[in-house]
């Protein structure tokens, strides 16, 4: 009986210690959508969680994120998705496999991400705050 208590307590302790903490303020957002320079936090979060397929301008929403082996990925996964890099990848792969989303674009560096957003109308990206200087016309502020 004592062994069972120890097993259950051990599982609970491991379970409680396994927790992520999200903070959207730790991220910079980049966008290339006509007339959109700021969005409410809830709208940003919803967009990054497949809550929107088209912008008001009818452009397709293209989510751009750091690739899994990018040094930027863990901060974005933690602060935006409240999970690990693997968890973030699984979240998107599952949605794509369900047929409920197009796949995001995963890129290696902050520079690649900024360039991709700049060249692809409808794109929105998240990177850790201060990773790179973001052109003012692409910067998305939290309303």
């Amino acid at each position: 009986m004592k062994t069972w208590y120890l097993i259950v307590l051990g599982l609970l302790a491991a379970h409680l210690s396994y927790a992520q903490k999200a903070d959207i303020g730790e991220l910079d957002f980049i966008i290339n959508v006509n007339d959109v320079t700021e969005l409410p936090q809830s709208e940003i979060l919803k967009t990054f969680k497949n809550g929107r397929s088209l912008w008001d301008s009818n452009q397709k929403v293209i989510i751009v994120l750091p690739a899994k082996n990018s040094s930027l990925a863990s901060d974005v996964a933690k602060n935006l998705y409240n999970t690990s890099v693997s968890g973030m990848q699984k979240f998107w792969l599952a949605l794509v496999f369900q047929g409920r989303s197009s796949p995001p674009v995963f890129l290696q560096s902050a520079k690649d991400i900024v360039e991709y957003v700049e060249n692809n109308p409808g794109a929105i990206a998240a990177i850790p705050a201060g990773s790179i200087e973001i052109p003012s016309n692409l910067k998305l502020s939290i309303k």
């Binding site: 969680k49 397929s53 397709k60 968890g87 496999f97 047929g99 197009s102």
Partner: protein, 383 residues
């Protein structure tokens, strides 16, 4: 990961030739699929418009029944998945499976599990045409043939009896609407007794499913499926075989009114997972009357770490004695399992399960407690 008879007499010689032809056709289809995937990846991959994924699984199981003990390795179905963006608003999705089949000369048969074109006509609303996994419950709408996504080793038992796995037709879909993230899937198309090229009446099967996602990771859904089968074809269920193997001379071939109401509750968080699938099925015929059937599947897992998940499951189905579509059955399965996820593309599940078969049509001389305990190990992967 990214975008990817032997024949001592003349009669038997004829059969052999036919099988050889079939094998050649199978090989040809497989070759075409592979070339198509490779080609599509080369052409569109550079512009990131097509993503190709593969999923597969291997199993080891140790079981014991009245015939003795067995320890076997098994190769599971292998799934090729394509998601291609044709334009800003149009997407193509295909899912092709190759699985073991001892009736095939090559021991494997390919099948088209999904093939659809989706038109996203306005934000979060789409029209879909093609073959889909009928969006009746969380499991059928989410996991398809990707074992790496399954929280446990197998689909619920109900999938072998009641769930109309596929529909080929026209679907209207909405998702993430409003504060509760409301979603709908309404569909008409070829129903249970149809094939992928033929429907046996002018009245289509109709399904309507609704869900809400009030919190991250939570989905609550309900659905209704309506199908008047012109000719009862037990075992087809739009593409997959059922658990009940019915002798040809004992098959009921008249019309059946098939209705299914389902309810799903799924809550997948980083630290715990719960999935409930319930359903109530009525199948009615003029001769046997109304058969009331139901099923219940419950899964609960505790993510002690991101990679480590011990879990339990309970799975029950009841098919009434007067049912001539699924045929009478009552089964219960319980299992204790452990899942270790090396990565989102690789996991190992170890499951100890026990099954009780209280009754089952065409299963003679089975003791009630015939199944197990089984030890099953599954390696599921994506690539």
């Amino acid at each position: 990961m990214k975008g990817f008879y032997k024949s001592p007499c003349e009669h038997k010689v004829k059969i052999s030739n036919r099988l050889n032809k079939k094998a050649a056709n199978t090989t040809f289809i497989l070759s075409c699929l592979i070339v198509f995937f490779l080609f599509s990846n080369c052409v569109f991959g550079q512009t990131k418009q097509t993503q190709f994924n593969g999923f597969g699984h291997l199993e080891f199981y140790f079981d014991r029944d009245e015939d003795g003990r067995r320890a076997s390795f098994a190769i599971g179905e292998h799934d090729f998945f394509v998601n291609a963006t044709i334009s800003d608003k149009i997407t193509f999705i295909g899912e092709y499976v190759v699985r073991f089949n001892s009736n095939s000369a090559t021991n494997y048969l390919p099948s088209i599990e999904r093939s659809l074109v989706k038109y996203n006509y306005t934000n979060n609303h789409s029209v879909i045409v093609g073959k889909v996994h009928t969006p009746l419950n969380y499991w059928n709408d989410s996991y398809h043939h990707g074992r790496v996504f399954f929280p446990v080793i197998d689909r619920p038992l109900a999938f072998s009896y009641f769930i109309p796995l596929h529909t080929l037709g026209l679907q209207f879909q909405g998702q993430n609407l409003g504060r509760l993230n409301f979603g709908y899937d309404v569909m008409i198309g070829n129903g249970i007794s149809s094939t992928d090229i033929y429907h046996d009446s002018v009245v289509p099967a109709v399904s309507a499913a609704f869900h809400i996602k009030p919190r991250d990771g939570m989905r609550i859904g309900a659905s209704y499926y309506w199908d008047n089968l012109h000719d009862n074809t037990p075992g087809v269920h739009s593409g997959h075989s059922t658990a009940t193997s019915v002798p040809l001379d004992q098959r009921y071939e008249g019309p059946v009114k098939f209705r299914l109401t389902s309810f799903s509750f799924a809550y997948f968080k980083d630290n715990f997972e719960i999935l409930n699938e319930s359903g109530y099925n009525v199948s009615t015929t003029d001769t046997t009357g109304r058969a009331n059937n139901f099923y219940q599947f419950v899964y609960a897992g505790l993510n002690v770490t991101e990679k480590s998940t011990p879990y339990i499951l309970g799975d029950y189905i009841h098919v009434a004695d007067n049912d001539v579509h699924a045929y009478p059955a009552e089964r219960l399965k319980i299992a204790l399992g452990y899942r270790y996820s090396f990565d989102y593309l690789l996991n190992v599940k170890i499951q100890l399960e026990k099954e009780w078969e209280f009754k089952h049509a065409f299963h003679q001389n089975h003791p009630i407690s015939y199944g197990g305990p089984f030890l099953r190990i599954q390696v599921a992967y994506g690539f």
